[in-house]
């Protein structure tokens, strides 16, 4: 990545940001890392982040190609352009890593996350929670007389927004999967 390259299709910033390589402005990037599906491979990747002091905002991992023994790790990280460039180079030299893609700069991409919210309450609050869930296209996956579990899928900021709304309505517990992402088009 050369200095002052106009960033294409960022998901978190304007597409017209100029980004000098040695800027000290922190950016959020979504990385897709294809790795050999073998024991310890996740430890290699997260050990790199902890050992070198990089941030992990979210991380998802699962096997995506059974015959090719490949897993896909999606990492959302934040850092200055220099740090992001280092993270990618460091990931690239792990022997078990096949490919590293920076979805934030490589073109438009889709990011999705799944979350479950347990909301407990009675009366108006319970009705309001259900109404908001409908607006957010969240599904009710469990229900008692005093609680719901909502399942919601969306971009991380949509899930954040839903969480903010559920808080005053009796939010008890949240589980989030972290971001999975794919580049758009072919």
């Amino acid at each position: 990545m050369s200095a002052l390259k106009i960033k294409k299709g960022s998901t978190s910033h304007s597409a017209y940001n100029l980004r000098p390589t040695f800027s000290d402005v922190e950016e959020r990037h979504t990385l897709a890392v294809l790795v050999e599906n073998e024991p310890g491979v996740l430890a290699r990747v997260i050990g790199l982040f902890s050992g070198r002091g990089y941030n992990i905002e979210s991380l998802t991992v699962a096997e995506v190609d059974h015959t090719g023994h490949l897993s896909r790790i999606t990492i959302v990280t934040a850092g200055t352009p220099q740090v992001i460039e280092q993270i990618k180079a460091q990931l690239g030299r792990i022997v078990s890593v096949h490919e590293v893609h920076d979805l934030t700069v490589e073109g438009p991409s889709v990011e999705r996350e799944l979350a479950m919210f347990k909301v407990a309450g009675q009366g108006d609050k319970r009705v309001e929670a259900l109404r908001l869930a409908d607006i957010f296209r969240a599904n009710v996956v469990d229900s008692t007389l005093e609680s719901f579990i909502f399942e919601i899928t969306g971009a991380p900021d949509k899930i954040d927004a839903f969480a903010d709304l559920m808080h005053p309505l009796g939010l008890v517990e949240v589980a989030r999967t972290g971001v999975a992402a794919l580049p758009r088009g072919d």
């Binding site: 024991p39 310890g40 220099q82 280092q86 022997v95």
Partner: protein, 583 residues
């Protein structure tokens, strides 16, 4: 041809097929089947060390002096954890070694069994890659791949953890074949970037080559190409500690080592250059000093096989990812085809500037009185051994820097020192590894008494295997570099930087059956060194030197290249609070 055999036999067969002639190791419960196979063959020599750390450093020394990967064999648990320092050392200095560890049987892993440790977990951050082999059928493939990973791209240490039941079980052995794994680092540099560099070479007014261990790791051919390029362009060249020997110290364009204790002319030229060509070095903090004042006026080209080295510390204007040998070949080809141009007029001026800096003679010293100065000891060692087929190892500290300054290296692979990790205790076992690789050569470990004591048990190894390594100890009864920093940074409060109760090194040598020599008088030094060289066997040379000597020149922490200290005068207070937090 595939064959059925036990896992233990596979290990030995795979090593033989990989061309291994020497293994450094220490047996234990979890590797007994492999030791049983070693007992029943004659192709591989096994060197029994006295501590597993020694095995790894010996393998490192062997690898660096021969250019072939070094191999170690140790047991599970403590055997593996004792190897960790050596693995980290090899990782920092990019040395190809293969460490085989025994492990408790697969069905006992995780049960806190006797001598069980999570070896792959512990060594994951200090190896280039590691494997736990759970099936005998995959063992030979993993070993062959381990040799590929250790030596391909930027070299480094790898570890294979082999449970005892996998060693006993029978499986299918597959002989080595060219690696088909996805790990195939790029060796050819980008031609567009290479052409850009050649264009910069043609017009540069104040160029300098800044070379590192990558040149040595790329093989002797890379050193040859470097010499051709340097001599053809007439550009000055400096090198890191790791790269000494890739260009000869007697060469016309040599300006000496650079960095914290580098030569004045090398550091000044780095600071003032307009084109810096970094070949296989990584802008280590010992080299750059203060980053924001590092060579402010130069365009920087950076050739490195590891993409993560580029832009890690210093922004490269012309980044070239590739193997040094391949890239140098292409640079020469393009430069020659474009008419071998350089800016001759500017070069003459640049050299006259460098000659002014050289005239400062930053390494000058006077040997006066009846106490040996360490610089004098090394100058005499250089004079009396330089015509020998000589290999030098060092420990870590002042003596290491003096050795780098006062000894001349004419060829690659003749200088073994712990650069990145700075491991005290490295040099003695490394010298054993070097001697195994070059049985007829003169192998000298320049040491400090404190470093040397860290792995002194290996004197037993040297004696048992008749390895005539020479231990040249500059004994100042101090942790010299620590003492120097305490003098400069901590108000001369010498907290725990001297050793009481040092051994009588002559008696210590004799206790192991080795030869001990003590020398304290400068007038006796030459004879004593000659006695050391001519003795057929290991020698412990106790050279009593000035106790309060400091190592100069020095770039103080947090300072720039052009702010070097040249000597004792006014060293107090030069390092400010910001600099003193640096190491």
């Amino acid at each position: 041809m595939t064959r059925q055999m036990t896992g233990a036999k596979m290990v030995v067969q795979a090593l033989i097929d990989q061309g291994v002639d020497t293994v450094f190791g220490y047996p234990g419960g979890a590797v007994l089947p492999i030791y049983d196979e070693i007992f029943q063959q004659n192709s591989i020599k096994h060197i029994l060390v006295r501590h597993e750390q020694g095995a790894v450093h010996a393998a490192e020394g062997y690898a660096r002096a021969t250019g072939k990967p070094g191999v170690c064999l140790v047991t599970s648990g403590p055997g593996a954890t004792n190897a960790v320092t050596g693995l980290t050392d090899a990782l920092m200095d990019s040395i190809p070694i293969i460490v085989l560890t025994g492990q408790v049987p697969t069905f006992m892993i995780g049960s806190d069994a006797f001598q069980e440790a999570d070896t792959v977990g512990i060594t994951r951050p200090c190896t280039k890659h590691n494997w736990l082999v759970k099936e005998t059928d995959s063992l030979s493939g993993v070993i062959h791949e381990a040799f590929h990973v250790a030596t391909a791209g930027r070299p480094g240490p790898v570890l294979i953890d082999i449970p005892k039941d996998v060693q006993f079980a029978t499986g299918t052995y597959t002989p080595p074949k060219p690696s088909t794994s996805h790990y195939q680092p790029q060796v050819k540099g980008d031609m567009e970037a290479i052409t850009e560099l050649v264009a910069a070479i043609e017009t540069a007014k104040r160029p300098i080559f800044y070379t590192g261990g990558g040149v040595i790791n790329s093989g002797p051919g890379a050193s040859q190409l470097l010499r051709e390029l340097v001599d053809a362009t007439g550009f000055p060249i400096t090198s890191t500690l790791m790269g000494l020997g890739s260009y000869p110290a007697s060469g016309k364009h040599w300006t000496g080592m650079l960095g914290m204790h580098g030569l004045y002319e090398a550091n000044m030229a780095m600071h003032d250059c307009d084109l810096m060509i970094n070949i296989g070095a990584r802008f280590d903090d010992r080299i750059t000093g203060r980053i924001d004042a590092f060579s402010p006026k130069s365009k920087k080209a950076h050739i490195d096989i590891d993409p993560s080295s580029i832009n890690k510390v210093i922004k490269a204007d012309i980044p070239i990812v590739g193997d040094v040998g391949h890239v140098l070949e292409d640079i020469l080809k393009v430069w020659k085809s474009r008419g071998r141009k350089t800016n001759q007029a500017a070069m003459a001026q640049w050299w006259s500037k460098i000659d002014e800096w050289k005239a400062v003679d930053c390494l000058k010293f006077k040997q006066e009185g009846k106490t040996i100065r360490p610089q004098y000891a090394l100058a005499r060692l250089e004079a009396l051994t330089k015509d020998h087929d000589r290999y030098i190892c060092t420990e870590v500290g002042q003596h290491q820097m003096w050795a780098a300054q006062y000894l001349g290296f004419e060829d690659p692979n003749r200088w073994m020192t712990s650069g990145g990790l700075g491991t005290m205790g490295y040099g003695f076992p490394a010298s054993i590894g070097v001697q195994m690789g070059h049985p007829e050569a003169l192998v000298i470990n320049v040491a400090g008494e404190a470093s040397w004591l860290m792995n002194m048990q290996e004197l037993g190894t040297a004696m048992q295997f008749n390895l005539p390594v020479k231990q040249f100890i500059l004994n100042n009864e101090r942790l010299g570099m620590v003492r120097q920093w305490q003098e400069l940074l901590h108000g001369e409060r010498y907290s725990h930087s001297w050793s009481e109760s040092l051994p009588d090194f002559v008696k210590l040598a004799e206790a192991f059956g080795a030869k001990g020599i003590i020398c304290s008088d400068p007038d006796d030094l030459d004879d004593a060194i000659m006695e050391m060289i001519t003795h057929d066997g290991p020698v412990l040379f106790d050279c009593l030197v000035e106790k309060h000597e400091n190592c100069f020149p020095m770039i103080p922490s947090g300072k720039a290249h052009n702010e070097m200290l040249l000597g004792e005068a006014e060293t107090q207070g030069v390092i400010d609070a910001k600099g003193s937090v640096l190491v």
